[in-house]
Amino acid sequence: MLDARDRQLLERMQIGLPVCPRPYAEIGHFLAMSEAEVLERLTHLKQQGLIKRMGVIVKHHQLGYRANAMIVWNVPDTLIKQLGARISQFTFVTLCYQRPPHSQWPYNLYCMIHGKNKATVLAQLDQLNTDCNLGEFNQEVLFSRRCFKQRGALYSSNTDVSREDHG
């Protein structure tokens, strides 16, 4: 499990690895940790599955993937794990979650598709519906319009409700 030092390290890594010759030493410098300790902890966290992926985090939109759709289905709870696992196999899918339904919102299975345009995304959705037998379930496609804010998850030890000062 995560100890306090792991948490500090993961929080610091949310900002990103510096682009300089000894980036792990630099990260360590802020946390009073040696480069070796940073590397050891990150390696261990990765082995434990507490880091899903480490590497370049690309901006889809700027790289020509202009269409981003969140697709939601209302599927029986008994099928959800199996369907989620199948949906996750498709290379064009970038997230796949189970979430609870609400009175005005009956959906429980979510996935995200990033594509170059809407037509591509809709064709990929057709493929998902066909290959995973999802066509019979209620579903909606929510394309994104404006992005008001996008950044990695930030966690801070501050527990007050706070707002950022954008100057």
Partner: protein, 152 residues
């Protein structure tokens, strides 16, 4: 126009980033260029906003608690509400989507009480209801995303 080095950096190092003292030198060796070339190319990708960072994807709810929140805001009020919500440090990924539920954002906090307080604060602040759909199960194994950069 992206150079071949940029394209390699974008597609080939989204996962298993080298965990060693000089990772950029390691990458440079793999690509047959100098460490300086790699540092420069990554700085260019950063400056052009093609990458958000070299970083980590952590399984949801490992470091804190998070939830996806939807709101239905009349068009005339959407922008001002969205700006208010984006100003919360607990909020990331705030998007307009094509639906009656037209504003979708992720809120993260250290614990569920704090998360709840943020949502209540937002409701008071904006005058609109929030619908919170926290994650129950994550099916996705993140291997990165293979970009088609042929014409990029």
């Amino acid at each position: 126009m992206l150079k071949p080095l940029h394209k390699h950096l974008l597609n080939d190092f989204q996962r298993d980033f080298p965990l060693c003292s000089r990772p950029y030198q390691d990458i440079a060796h793999q690509l047959g260029v100098s460490e300086e070339d790699v540092l420069l190319a990554l700085t260019e990708l950063n400056n052009n906003n093609f990458i958000s960072r070299i970083g980590l994807i952590i399984p949801p709810n490992q470091l804190g608690v998070s939830t996806l929140v939807a709101m239905a805001i009349p068009e005339y009020d959407l922008e001002s509400v969205a700006v208010k919500i984006s100003a919360y440090s607990e909020v990331n990924h705030n998007y307009e989507r094509e639906h009656t539920f037209n504003l979708w954002f992720v809120a993260v906090a250290n614990n569920t009480e704090h998360l709840q307080a943020v949502l209540e604060h937002i409701e008071q602040d904006t005058g609109y209801k929030t619908m919170s759909v926290p994650l129950l199960d994550d099916f996705f194994i993140d291997l990165g995303f293979q970009l088609d950069l042929q014409n990029a």
